[in-house]
């Protein structure tokens, strides 16, 4: 039964080659756009994951803390699961760094009798906790440590980055869902047309004792084949664009060098096409009644 269903599906694909070809092209276009969006979202995600390397929280300590007190704070911070690294910066060192940064403008520090800066601790956070809520919670926690005068971090910057990341991800998911529905609709329409064209044939199948599975199988195979071919074509398009266009552009525009092509998308595209094709075909055939 299965080989015959495949044969029927193959005959139908060849017999109705134009409608099938157009469907494959439409699906390929939809999946190609979807893949672009997925690559974009993936890159935004990857970019934001790099933030912890640059993001730090500064703890300013109270004046005249004894060495044991500072050591105590450092140990408390090191024990925290959210903390990646801890660096103590004495106020003299901080002043030295400030002077180095000011270069020719050190005159702004002239006239100061004593070092106005505080001893401080710079902590870098683990990637897993880098969300506005978690960072805020941590800042409250560290502020409560005995000897910590003030905590400073780029709260607004972090919130903005996080919102952008989540917004792009949400939009990406919505867009991918819409495009997937589009692919299902294309497969649905194609199989529905073919199903109607073969209505008489299907009636005969039913009358001579064909099961629902026997009737459905060629259409489902056809839907799967259309979806798979569309997915394969979109993958070819994506790879061609990446290797021909992006890699060439990256030679002249450095920004393109940072674009990552997620290799796991390669098998996903034909597979997604196949599954969406099957879904469209199954919906199109609907319930078969005797």
């Amino acid at each position: 039964m299965i080989p015959y269903s495949f044969r029927l599906a193959a005959q139908s694909i060849l017999h109705e080659k134009w409608i099938n070809f157009l469907s494959v092209l439409t699906i390929a276009a939809c999946l190609l756009i979807t893949a672009f969006v997925a690559v974009f979202v993936y890159n935004v995600d990857a970019l934001t994951k790099k933030l912890p390397e640059k993001f730090s929280m500064m703890l300013y300590l109270k004046d005249n803390l004894p060495g044991a007190g500072i050591e105590n704070i450092l140990n408390t911070l090191r024990r925290d699961d959210a903390v990646e690294t801890v660096k103590y910066i004495p106020k003299d060192e901080a002043l030295k760094e400030l002077k180095a940064e000011l270069k020719d403008a050190t005159y702004v520090l002239e006239g100061l009798d004593e070092n106005p800066l505080h001893d401080s601790i710079e902590i870098k956070l683990k990637r897993s906790v880098l969300g506005p809520e978690a960072v805020k919670k941590l800042s409250t926690k560290v502020k409560a440590i005995e000897g910590v005068a003030e905590v400073e971090y780029g709260e607004k910057f972090l919130s903005a980055i996080y919102s952008i990341k989540m917004g792009i991800r949400a939009l990406g998911i919505i867009f991918i869902a819409i495009m997937s529905a589009g692919v299902i609709f294309v497969c649905y329409s194609t199989v529905k047309i073919l199903f109607y064209r073969k209505k008489e044939e299907i009636e005969t199948y039913k009358l001579i004792g064909a099961t629902k599975g026997f009737i459905r199988a060629p259409f489902v195979i056809e839907g799967a084949a259309i979806g798979f071919c569309g997915g394969l074509l979109s993958l070819i398009g994506l790879l061609s664009l990446y290797y021909i266009l992006f890699l060439k552009l990256s030679l002249s525009i450095p920004l393109f060098k940072n674009i990552i092509f997620p290799s796991q998308i390669s098998p996903l595209l034909p597979l997604t096409g196949l599954l969406l094709g099957i879904a469209g075909a199954v919906i199109a055939i609907g319930r078969i009644r005797y």
């Binding site: 039964m1 017999h15 005969t204 001579i208 004792g209 064909a210 005797y290």
Partner: protein, 220 residues
């Protein structure tokens, strides 16, 4: 083998069958006759569950059709060889494929399928037309393809709706001869026809219908 009890079937403005009761025993060959619109085709359609009766009960072999699940209908139909009035041949498939279809739905392997299809075509004298397409055949030849498709597996029951409606008298006689042969092999046969010549002198039971009523029985 086939039992109908108080069967009625109504369409919008007319009654196709009214309170029909009869039985066909295993191995019997029975003719159903009557003018056009007397309910012959409806009766056959009820037996293979293309339609369901409004009233009454039908049992075919071991199946009580009123209680039959939809998923079991293919099983019932595989036990019935049906010769349709309108042939129901697939014009995009050749004669071989049209006959083979009935075997393919049963999952018969290719080797056995070829033997059985050619045997069936030989039985109806169409072995030489196996590559032809239905539209290239005469009405009589198409009818014989349908017969080949229906009888190839010696089905438990054969239902024939006006099987000689499109053929000359010699071909009609040949078709009846084929029916007698498969009946002799054990199949129960029910033939609906308005052609009285078909059953005259056969000695078989004839059920007479008129405007949906079973009006009598006689020996042919």
């Amino acid at each position: 083998m086939i039992h109908l009890f108080n069967i009625s079937k109504h369409y919008e403005n007319q009654t196709a069958l009214r309170d029909v009761t009869f039985s066909v025993e295993k191995g019997e060959m029975v003719f159903i006759t009557g003018p056009s619109g007397s309910g012959k085709t409806t009766l056959l359609r009820l037996i293979y569950l293309a339609e369901r009766p409004d009233e009454g009960t039908i049992s075919v072999a071991e199946w009580e059709l009123g209680k039959m699940k939809e998923s079991s209908i293919p099983l019932l139909r595989r036990n019935i060889g049906f010769i349709f009035q309108d042939f129901r041949l697939l014009n995009n498939k050749n004669v071989f494929e049209n006959v083979a279809l009935a075997l393919r739905i049963r999952g018969v392997d290719e080797k056995e399928l070829k033997i059985r299809v050619f045997d069936a075509l030989k039985e109806v004298n169409l072995r030489h037309k196996s590559d032809s397409y239905p539209l290239a055949l005469s009405g009589g030849e198409q009818q014989r393809v349908v017969i080949a498709r229906a009888i190839f597996s010696d089905p438990t029951i054969v239902l024939a709706d006006e099987p000689t409606g499109n053929v000359d008298s010699d071909t009609a006689a040949g078709i009846i001869r084929t029916f007698k042969e498969i009946n002799a092999r054990g199949s129960t046969i029910l033939v609906a026809t308005h052609n009285r010549d078909l059953f005259r002198g056969t000695g078989r039971r004839v059920l007479k219908f008129d405007t949906g009523n079973l009006v009598g029985q006689e020996a042919g």
